[in-house]
Symmetry: C2
Subunit: 226 residues, 2 copies
């Protein structure tokens, strides 16, 4: 029962550089760790298979806190989904397509998307889960409706520059180009387990992953070149 007495610490005031104090009560940390745990649990098991108790345990906290911060299981799932989309959209912002030559820009976008999918398998799983349920929660989300991003517009500019230079076909549109890139990356990764089983070739092998990245760039570029 002898809880350490000098917990003092103003939590966020530890800028000096000392060792981080565990901080027995830290709402932000608790909330964040619930969200992280829920992301894993929902990604691994889908919404129907995810267990509220499992999330609480993974977060190192209590089930009560989960309801305290997020209301119920569905709202928690929505928070997870929103955070996942915010993640990729903000990462996309680090791409500066307008600074690049048209072909190089398309190649960069393809490689960026591939790497993002590769590094964030939980994002792919959540997309799959959400689509299984016909975007039921995504449609509810007001936060995400605003997030559409001018991303497609930027891609359109890039493609227009390529068209003006006579490099690209004039009948291509940015949505199709993006869907092509996303499709090739998404399918390979999200379906790797059944494909590996059926075709007897380990798609997760490093050399195969690298080869598929080059394949995506090749396919995308050759489909838009004149």
């Amino acid at each position: 029962m002898d809880k350490v007495q000098s917990r003092a610490r103003g939590r966020r005031g530890n800028g000096g550089g000392g060792a981080e104090r565990p901080a027995q009560r830290d709402p932000e940390r608790t909330r964040a760790s619930i969200l992280a745990a829920a992301t894993k649990e929902f990604a691994e098991n889908g919404i129907g298979g995810a267990r509220v108790d499992a999330i609480a345990e993974r977060a190192g906290t209590n089930k009560r806190m989960l309801y305290h911060y997020f209301g119920d299981k569905e709202q928690l799932y929505l928070a997870v989904l929103e955070e996942a989309y915010i993640g990729i959209r903000s990462a996309e912002r680090s791409l500066h397509l307008s600074d690049l030559e048209p072909e190089q820009g398309v190649a960069e976008l393809a490689m960026f998307t591939w790497k993002y999918f590769l590094d964030h398998p939980e994002f792919l799983s959540l997309l799959g889960t959400e689509n299984l349920h016909r975007a039921r929660w995504l449609r509810q989300s007001t936060r995400l409706k605003e997030l559409h991003s001018n991303f497609i517009d930027k891609l359109a500019d890039l493609l227009d520059r390529g068209k003006a230079k006579g490099l690209f076909r004039t009948d291509i549109n940015p949505l199709n180009v993006y869907l092509t890139i996303a499709a090739l990356g998404y399918f390979y990764l999200s379906n790797q387990h059944t494909l590996t089983t059926i075709f007897g070739r380990d798609l997760a092998d490093k050399a195969n992953l690298e080869a598929w990245k080059r394949h995506i760039v090749h396919v995308t570029l050759s489909s838009i070149r004149r």
Copy 2:
């Protein structure tokens, strides 16, 4: 042990032409309707979200029968998965790639795959569910291991003919070509709900579906042509 040999098939012997007997007891019919109901339920809700009671009700039978014919929920899911794979593999057999010119053959394969995916959304859902669980049940299945099909071999022949005629690049391989075709179809359809929500364009619209079919053929062919 002493299985009676001449069970003397009742049941299907009503060929004479009389009105079809409702057949109060019909094991095959019951089994089939459970399988069909389970396919829907698993496709709509995933394995964790599917409810055994819901399957029994959809099948117009009793939960007991489900356990009678399939053992338990997981074995029923496996039976559903196996049937789904058998469906696409046997449909593939109706494609006679060896009779076609190389370019036409690739185009036919692409359009066939697209149409199959479009007509069998439950197959796509089951694939998604199975991959979420890292092909846990598919790997268990001994029946499906044999089903690999000489499909890839047939595609390889087609591509080789194209290479010999100087139509196709010599560095392409059949698995990549098939994955490209499948990826473009799968992603568009399985992710249509989130994509439609995010990009504000109805991907399920008939004109868009037709355009995407042409897009798949175009992308595939332009990526393999010399």
